[in-house]
């Protein structure tokens, strides 16, 4: 059980704001944190990791973590910019955390990095680096796993695969996981609970379905192209061609609502 009651003044893009969090996270829970950038999500992870100080109290399994050194917290952290050890190969990055060759090999296999294990980080693509960071985060068999947009640089296929793998590893190591993500598919598939943050405060909380879904049966999309009697609309990540009657006046860049039916 993690109990956070923290208070910290942050200098955000919109000037000073205060991060005020009162949150309890159950052992083994997979919590997603969503919200606009600058809302304090990453700072929340950093405070829990012991990388930043804050007023208030962080209690983990009954132990006060306020002055508990980061080195002893047994956490895994995937940073947004990965933070890989540039002087070490992919494999050495993992082994530096723990000299556990079997686990390193297994994690490299899961993240499909086995063939790249002798490469240095600066020769890897963004997606590959992100996978190294993920694999490395599991090396010290973390009790608390902190993921800051851990799948943002991956293609949809790899993303889907790793969503499943992370959940499996989370269960296997008995982690309590906090994941910052903007991606509805990450949140829906992985998290058991979601909080939404805005300007340093939690404004919404619930299951993925409760928080992400809306009551309406409308989809909204952006008009990208207008042809004679058709428009091309971007809905989510998908392009849809729709017929429109000529008397409708649409402009490129308009947001329109489309009523959705299930097509059986």
């Amino acid at each position: 059980m993690i109990s956070l009651k923290i208070n910290k003044t942050l200098c955000g893009a919109k000037g000073e704001m205060s991060l005020e969090i009162d949150l309890e996270i159950r052992q083994g829970e997979f919590l997603a944190i969503s919200g606009e950038s600058g809302a304090g999500k990453s700072t929340l992870l950093r405070i829990l990791a012991g990388l930043e100080e804050a007023e208030g109290k962080v209690v983990v399994n009954g132990q006060n973590w306020n002055n508990f050194p980061v080195q002893k917290r047994q956490i895994g952290f995937v940073f947004q910019d990965f933070g890989l050890f540039e002087n070490m190969s992919v494999e050495q990055n993992l082994l530096f955390v723990a000299k556990d060759k079997a686990l390193a090999e297994e994690l490299l296999k899961i993240t499909q990095l086995s063939e790249l294990k002798n490469r240095k980080p600066n020769t890897l693509s963004g997606g590959q680096k992100q996978r190294v960071a993920l694999a490395r985060a599991f090396m010290n068999r973390p009790k608390i796993l902190l993921l800051d947009e851990p799948l943002s640089a991956l293609n949809p296929e790899m993303r889907l695969k790793l969503q499943k793998e992370i959940v499996k590893l989370h269960q296997r190591f008995g982690c309590t996981t906090l994941m910052v993500s903007h991606d509805s598919s990450d949140i829906y598939r992985m998290a058991s609970r979601v909080i939404v943050m805005e300007l340093g405060k939690v404004i919404k909380e619930g299951t993925a379905k409760e928080v992400l879904s809306t009551d309406s049966s409308y989809l909204s999309g952006e008009v990208l192209e207008i042809q004679k009697d058709k428009v091309v609309v971007l809905v989510g990540q998908q392009l849809i061609e729709l017929k429109v009657s000529k008397d409708k006046q649409l402009n490129i860049g308009d947001y329109i609502e489309i009523e959705g039916y299930l097509a059986f």
């Binding site: 980061v70 002893k72 047994q74 890989l84 540039e86």
Partner: protein, 220 residues
């Protein structure tokens, strides 16, 4: 031509070897002593930090005579004035910022999350320094070592005050040139100066070529 050859073959190279001996010892001592200092300064958010940074940088702005004067006063009770040991100590003070500043800059430019990843992996500050931070600041380290060496070779004012000009003890190359000038031995002064000029140029060239190659490799 024959005359020049004669002068060259009779050239006393002792001042040069003394200069290099002094510079090598100074560079090694400074590296060992200031590595932890540069590391701690780079990681510190303490209010004392600007004070320590100012003290470290003092030799950059202080006239060498001021440094020389204080060192002489301090040395008077230890029999260090006009000795090689005294010169080494004086050089360590004089070249201090040239070692600390590039290393500190190198450490500060490292990706913060890389250092934090090491702490998260359970590694102490010192293991992080030697296994993660130091191997990733090679160009800065190279700059620090070579510039410190070169700056010590180029020392004059402090050496003059602390060391005087005792052959094989404190008469380093820069002092030897000054003496030759005073004795109106212009030919020798020319040769000594040319040697110093060439050495200094090639030292700097090495630094720039190394750093250029390194950045090319990193970018590739």
């Amino acid at each position: 031509m024959h005359e020049l050859f004669n002068t060259l073959s009779n050239l006393d190279l002792a001042p040069f070897s003394l200069s290099f001996k002094l510079a090598t010892i100074t560079t090694l001592i400074l590296f060992v002593v200031t590595l932890p200092l540069a590391w701690v300064l780079s990681q510190s958010k303490s209010k004392v930090k600007p004070i320590i940074e100012s003290i470290v940088s003092l030799p950059l702005v202080l006239p060498p005579s001021v440094l020389g004067f204080y060192l002489l006063v301090a040395f008077s009770s230890f029999d260090l004035a006009f000795t090689f040991k005294g010169l080494v100590i004086a050089s360590c003070f004089y070249s201090l910022p040239f070692m600390v500043q590039p290393m500190q800059g190198g450490f500060e430019s490292l990706n913060k999350n890389m250092i934090e990843s090491s702490y998260i992996a359970g590694k102490s500050k010192w293991i992080t320094l030697f296994r993660v931070a130091l191997p990733n600041i090679k160009p800065a380290l190279m700059t620090a070592l070579i510039i410190t060496f070169a700056h010590t070779v180029g020392e004059f004012g402090v050496v003059l005050m602390i060391g005087g000009s005792i052959p094989d003890e404190t008469r380093v190359a820069s002092i030897a040139i000054y003496d030759l000038m005073n004795n109106l031995e212009y030919e020798k002064a020319h040769i000594y100066s040319a040697i110093m000029l060439l050495i200094s140029f090639f030292v700097l060239l090495t630094v720039y070529i190394f750093n250029h190659k390194h950045f090319k490799r990193v970018r590739a």
